[in-house]
Amino acid sequence: MQTQSLQQTQILATNKVIRNTYSLLALTLLFSAATAGIGILTNMAPLNPIITLVGYFGLLFATSRFSNSGLGLLFVFLLTGFMGLTLGPIINLYLSIPNGDQTVMMALGGTGAIFLGLSGYALTSRKNFSFMGGFIMAGVLVAFLAGLAAMFFSIPALALGVSAMFVLLMSAMILWQTSEMIHGGETNYILATVNLYVSIYNLFLSLLHLLGALGGSDD
């Protein structure tokens, strides 16, 4: 009887984390779409890479640090708003290319389809993907360094390889994060939201890059 009640409590807690995560994710995506829209409409110039790096990692650190308090919510919106704002000039660049609007819409639709498909798979199969945590973390670190090398030394082929790598890693991260929520590995909905948001953001950017370059509109 007591075991059954404990199980029910765990199920309720898991459902609450999932519900809160997807609600916050929807709000942050809308908010970052609005800030990206501002960046597009105002023809904002790309931010300095130093400001971008400090902004990303500073706000990511602050969100993680305050993830157990109300301030965490404020930092989630600051982070996602900032990330959305940095998307504005990138999308503007693609929109200025012939058929660029189609590329952007295809990347957006593709990102949505991949996210829904992978989340649906993890939620319905209820498989435990916790074993992928270390692999994803190491992969993201390698991809991040390779991405910086591509930027520093201007190697377009390496940049494309990094984008392809990010598509795979972010897909794995969606599976892993969703599974962590289901199996109780992640009980903080703010951290779960940030992980899923970053996955969606990187997936969109990588798809945009791949479709723009390989779809024949990048040069």
Binding site: N48, P49, I50, L53, V54, F57, Q102, T103, M106, G110, A113, I114, G117, L118, Y121, S125, K127, N128, F129, S130, F131, M132, G133, G134, F135, M137, A138, L141, L145, L148, M151, F152, V167, L168, S171, A172, L175, L207, L210, L211, L214, G215, G216, S217
Partner: protein, 62 residues
């Protein structure tokens, strides 16, 4: 990008690596090891993502 910007970015990245590498190696050591069937169950949906992206690229090219 100016040289000073590259230097500042290199310092920032060095700092990030200093923070992330120990955490990554800790996670690699402590995370559960998956069996072959576990990896296969993850590879299937990711494989479908690869096929989907290839289809998107094909559509974008035509």
């Amino acid at each position: 990008m100016e040289t000073w910007e590259k230097v500042v970015i290199a310092i920032l990245v060095g700092g990030l690596l200093f923070l992330f590498i120990p955490a990554t190696s800790r996670t690699l050591k402590n995370s559960p090891k998956g069996s072959a069937s576990d990896w296969l169950s993850a590879a299937k949906p990711i494989g479908l993502v690869v096929v989907f992206v290839l289809i998107l690229i094909y559509i974008a090219r035509n």
